[in-house]
């Protein structure tokens, strides 16, 4: 009797697990995964706003292939394991044509491996670690990579006259590790000196021990490639210790508190709202009309990622995953809001980088560097 119950359960589980045979569906389903909550919520929410805006626009213009686009969004709570399971859910349950996400490289690597196995095209809006797309057939990105970002950061530091720099990176973030690696490479090659190297872990809250040690080495500035949640705490604790040198970093700074603690700090990013190019200003106007706020960098990269996906589906002429993948790979001179997007052989996009400086509680565009 007990065994019968056991086997019945197994059979029922198998049946419920079976994929619904989907014939011609009457809509195009696109999946999105991101950190809508959790310690990187700014990343996920900004990206989601950008993607949702792109979906609204494409549907207002009559959809794709004559069908409306439906966006299915899953929250991974900023958790790597959760990212894997929600991407599986998007593929198995919702049978999506393509996946958009993530911002954090660690989670893009995790979700990317699921998409790669299932043969579903994925576009990351703003993961910059080179490994995210490396040797992946189905994973693409619409932003620059950390080798470019790190070297721009290093050159900027030297231009500022910061010769002695301390590096404070996160040891469990793929993004932070790679970005600090490329920064150090360019910085020391160009004659700069790394006076201290300290690490923390994402999720840490107490940084004074490392900050005290860095402080005693008297650096001109501190390179801090991390995410805004930790950056806020690090800056506050540094200032409490009387450690007043400027800190600088990469696009993970977008979302940090702009106050007296971050005064004089700077970071490399995907976009600046002060950028006067018409494509950027049009995007800002549309975003403001929908959300009533100025978009952050994740808004514009999310918007561009979604539009590259839509463009590929249009060019492929079908919702077949492999046809869409091929079309994404052939993307050339696509007029993205943040600049023209051409997917290169490594599945990356070459885009200009902006350097933002924090002054009086606002970011200011300090420089724009074109890719070589």
């Amino acid at each position: 009797m007990r065994w019968m119950a056991f086997w019945t359960t197994i059979v029922l589980l198998c049946l419920s697990g079976c994929k619904k045979q989907q014939g011609e569906s009457n809509e195009i389903v696109i999946g999105e995964y991101g950190s809508l909550s959790g310690s990187n919520a700014v990343f996920g929410q900004g990206t989601h706003n950008g993607i949702a805006l792109a979906v609204d626009q494409v549907n207002a213009a009559g959809g794709l292939l004559g069908k409306p686009v439906r966006l299915v969004t899953e929250d991974d709570e900023g958790n790597q394991d959760e990212a894997v399971s929600v991407v599986k859910k998007l593929i198995d349950r919702d049978n999506v044509v393509g996946v958009l996400g993530e911002v954090a490289s660690t989670r893009s690597l995790a979700g990317g491996s699921v998409c790669e196995q299932a043969g579903v095209p994925m576009i990351s809006p703003s993961s910059t670690n080179p490994d995210v797309t490396k040797d992946r057939k189905y994973v693409f990105r619409v932003c620059f990579t950390d080798d470019f970002q790190g070297s721009v950061g290093a050159q900027f530091a030297l231009k500022k006259g910061w010769k002695r720099v301390a590096v404070f990176s996160s040891s469990n973030s793929d993004y932070s590790k790679k970005l600090s690696f490329f920064f150090k490479q360019t910085f020391t090659a160009a004659g700069g000196q790394i006076v201290a190297e300290e690490t923390y872990s994402d999720g840490d809250k107490e940084f004074k021990a490392q900050l005290t040690r860095m402080q005693s080495k008297n650096p001109d500035a501190v390179y801090l490639p991390g995410y805004y949640t930790e950056i806020d705490l690090i800056l506050r604790q540094a200032r409490n210790l009387g450690f007043t040198v400027p800190f600088f970093g990469g696009d993970g700074w977008d979302g940090c508190t702009l106050d007296s603690n971050s005064e004089g700090c700077c970071f490399t990013n995907h976009y600046s709202p002060e950028d006067q190019r018409p494509s950027v200003q049009e995007f800002i106007a549309a975003y403001k009309a929908k959300y009533g706020a100025v978009p952050d960098a994740f808004g514009i990269t999310g918007y561009d990622a979604a539009r590259v996906m839509f463009d590929a589906i249009k060019r492929a002429g079908s919702a077949d995953r492999n046809a869409v993948r091929d079309a994404i790979e052939q993307t050339k001179d696509f007029p993205g809001a943040g600049g023209s997007i051409t997917i290169d052989a490594n599945h990356n996009a070459k885009k200009p980088i902006v350097i933002l400086e924090i002054h009086d509680g606002k970011t200011h565009l300090a420089d724009t560097i074109q890719p070589n």
């Binding site: 900023g78 469990n172 809250k205 021990a209 806020d232 009387g242």
Partner: protein
């Protein structure tokens, strides 16, 4: 010298919070022989209450000297009530069951609180920063030797250390000098006999939970002001404070204080003096130090070695 003194301040400031949480572990263990694993989450609830009150206070533009006591008292009362409820609903019905049952229940309560507060309608998984009621600023800065930067003690460091020591003294007075404290010691000595002597053991046990939870609330408020508030913030401090309590000798109130400060110091000094590439191991190294101490003194630094009579 500058580094050493600054790390000492950093370590003591962190250790004070561990000590406050460890007091709750040690008191509950003293009367019930129960490791209350939900204690770290009571600390988290204290921080959440502090956040909610601070938002209200900032909205009312109340001055610091009004807002701060209200936040501390509010969190202590709220957490005291929570501690009472947890004991009443979850541990009291199981008191005469094997001890393992209560232990597993404690883990269940811990998971319940963490997941409840991750719910968007309750608090949500996104960390939040308290509105700045108290501007954290240096109150003491001493120039040491030739170092360019002085050793800095902030007002929050002083508050956390001062509160910790004051509350420990208050608690010692309560336990040693009051009638209720006498009852508490009697219950921790032997529950059955204490109850035969006319002590209302249920009331004593409830009071222990209320006191311990109120102390955890103080730690929660300090950390809410210092860091951020999120539903999983109690996990790591909870474990560290538990180890601190064991290190000091579980069941001993001065032991919890000593263990807490020691834990904070060991952790900070390891981070500050291990070569940077081993920074990640500082937590592990702290636990290794504790294991070594416990190998030499199995009942903790201030714990009494009891001989089990057969």
């Amino acid at each position: 010298m500058h580094d050493f003194l600054q790390q000492l301040v950093n370590g003591l400031s962190v250790g004070a919070v561990y000590a406050l949480i460890a007091l709750g572990y040690t008191m509950v263990y003293g009367v019930l022989r129960l490791i209350n694993f939900a204690h770290g989450d009571v600390y988290m609830v204290g921080a959440v209450i502090a956040y909610e009150l601070a938002v209200k206070m900032a909205g009312l533009n109340s001055p610091v000297w009004v807002a701060l006591p209200i936040i501390f008292l509010g969190a202590m009362v709220g957490c005291g009530a929570l501690g009472f409820t947890i004991e009443f609903l979850c541990y009291r019905p199981l008191r005469h069951r094997p001890r393992l049952v209560s232990l597993i229940t404690a883990i269940g309560v811990s998971l319940l609180l963490e997941n409840l507060f991750q719910n968007r309608r309750v608090f949500g998984a996104t960390p939040r920063v308290l509105p700045q009621l108290l501007a954290i600023r240096p109150v003491l800065s001493m120039a040491v030797g030739s170092a360019k930067s002085p050793v800095v003690v902030t007002n929050l460091d002083l508050i956390s250390m001062g509160l910790c020591i004051a509350l420990m003294l208050g608690l010692s007075w309560f336990v040693l000098k009051t009638k209720m404290g006498l009852a508490l010691r009697a219950v921790s000595f032997r529950v059955d006999t204490a109850s035969l002597m006319g002590i209302n053991t249920n009331r004593v046990i409830s009071m222990t939970f209320v006191l311990g939870s109120a102390l955890a609330a103080v730690a929660g408020v300090v950390d809410a002001m210092r860091y951020q508030v999120d539903p999983l913030m109690g996990l790591i401090p909870g474990i560290k404070a538990f180890v601190a309590a064991v290190l000091g000798g579980i069941g001993s109130i001065p032991g919890a204080l000593l263990g807490g400060f020691l834990m904070g110091l060991v952790e900070t000094f390891l981070k500050g003096y291990l070569p940077p590439q081993y920074n990640n191991y500082s937590n592990a190294a702290a636990f290794v130090v504790l294991i070594l101490i416990l190998l030499i003194r199995p009942s903790g630094l201030l714990g009494k070695t009891t001989v089990e009579k057969v």
